[in-house]
């Protein structure tokens, strides 16, 4: 999505990204970015919290208007109710290492199958 934003910007359309994978977006380099420090999936705010979601959209619009330079990042003031997702997402540990290795084999087989049928 960051690459799409860059392309639009190169063709005179100002952009703002609202997202939660800060390192990926900033390493790619985008003009304007609203960072939600939430688990991936709800960058615009907590599910069913319309008030928060509207506030985040308004932050994005303000950033569109006020950013003077590229790589302008604003972090929302909102926090998720726990921290454990930070560790648990895509976690690799002794309890799942064998399962992941097997999942990788299955995934590769499916990818090969898909390539062969395309």
């Amino acid at each position: 999505m960051s690459l799409v934003a860059r392309h639009l910007e190169e063709h005179n359309i100002p952009t703002v990204i609202i997202g939660s994978a800060r390192d990926i977006v900033e390493q790619c380099g985008v003009p304007r970015y609203i960072f939600s420090d939430f688990p991936l999936g709800n960058p615009v705010g907590l599910p069913y919290d319309s008030e928060m979601q509207i506030q985040i959209i308004k932050m994005a619009l303000t950033l569109l208007e006020e950013a003077k330079f590229p790589r302008s990042t604003i972090q929302t003031p909102f926090k998720w109710h726990t921290h454990k997702w930070r560790k648990e997402y895509m976690e690799v540990n002794d309890s799942n290492r064998a399962i992941l290795a097997r999942a990788g084999e299955i995934r590769r087989a499916r990818q090969t199958e898909r390539k062969n049928t395309n």
Binding site: M1, S2, L3, V4, A5, R6, H7, L8, E9, E10, N12, I13, P14, T15, V16, I17, I18, G19, A21, R22, D23, I24, Q27, C28, G29, P31, D37, P39, L40, G41, N42, V44, G45, L46, P47, Y48, Q53, I54, I56, I57, L61, L64, E65, F69, W80, H83, K84, W85, R86, E88, M90, V92, N96, L100, A101, G104, E105, R107, R108, R110
Partner: protein, 173 residues
């Protein structure tokens, strides 16, 4: 790690680049994915007030397939095509389960949490923005940066130019 207090000896913001590298290495992918890195960043200044702007919305989610449950997780990214779809009426749902997001910590049952079309409509009523483009745009994730640069991004641009989009809001899941 204590769940109430984060240990300040560790970085707070999650590094998805690090996490995905470890995760896929554990799956036997020996060569790590190389994320896009750019030094230069384009920047287009606003040329008119937002209250006069036609706003385009881009999502990485897909249009639902009536034959596939919204909750079905295929466990593998389905490489989809870009698409445009009318913004009126707001679609009741979008399909997200083949994308990478934290399915354990949260859910995507509330469209407003990742696809803020109704919120933008309310901001048109408040005259914060002038209008929303006739379509919203789908840019499903593609691992290939070459395809994203050569196909996905130009297609989204073409849709937006036809719809006379002035500014774009992009919301990856």
């Amino acid at each position: 790690m204590n769940d109430e207090q984060f240990d300040p000896a560790y970085r707070l913001a999650v590094s998805y680049i690090d996490k995905s590298r470890h995760f896929y290495a554990a799956q036997g992918y020996e060569i790590p994915y190389r994320w896009a890195v750019n030094g230069e960043v384009p920047f287009q200044k606003m040329t008119k007030p937002l209250s006069e702007c036609n706003v385009g919305l881009v999502t990485t989610a897909s249009l639902p397939n009536p034959d596939i449950s919204l909750d079905f997780d295929p466990g593998i990214l389905q490489i989809g095509s870009t698409y445009q779809f009318p913004t009126t009426p707001t679609p009741p749902s979008l399909y997200t389960m083949d994308r990478s997001w934290d399915k354990k910590a949260t859910h995507t049952h509330d469209l407003g949490s990742f696809f803020p079309l109704d919120h933008l409509k309310s901001l048109v009523k408040e005259k914060r923005i002038n209008s929303i483009s006739d379509h919203f745009y789908g840019a499903p994730t593609d691992y290939s940066q070459r395809k994203t640069n050569q196909n996905v991004a130009p297609e989204i641009l073409t849709y937006m130019q036809k719809d006379k989009v002035d500014v774009a809001i992009l919301v990856p899941l």
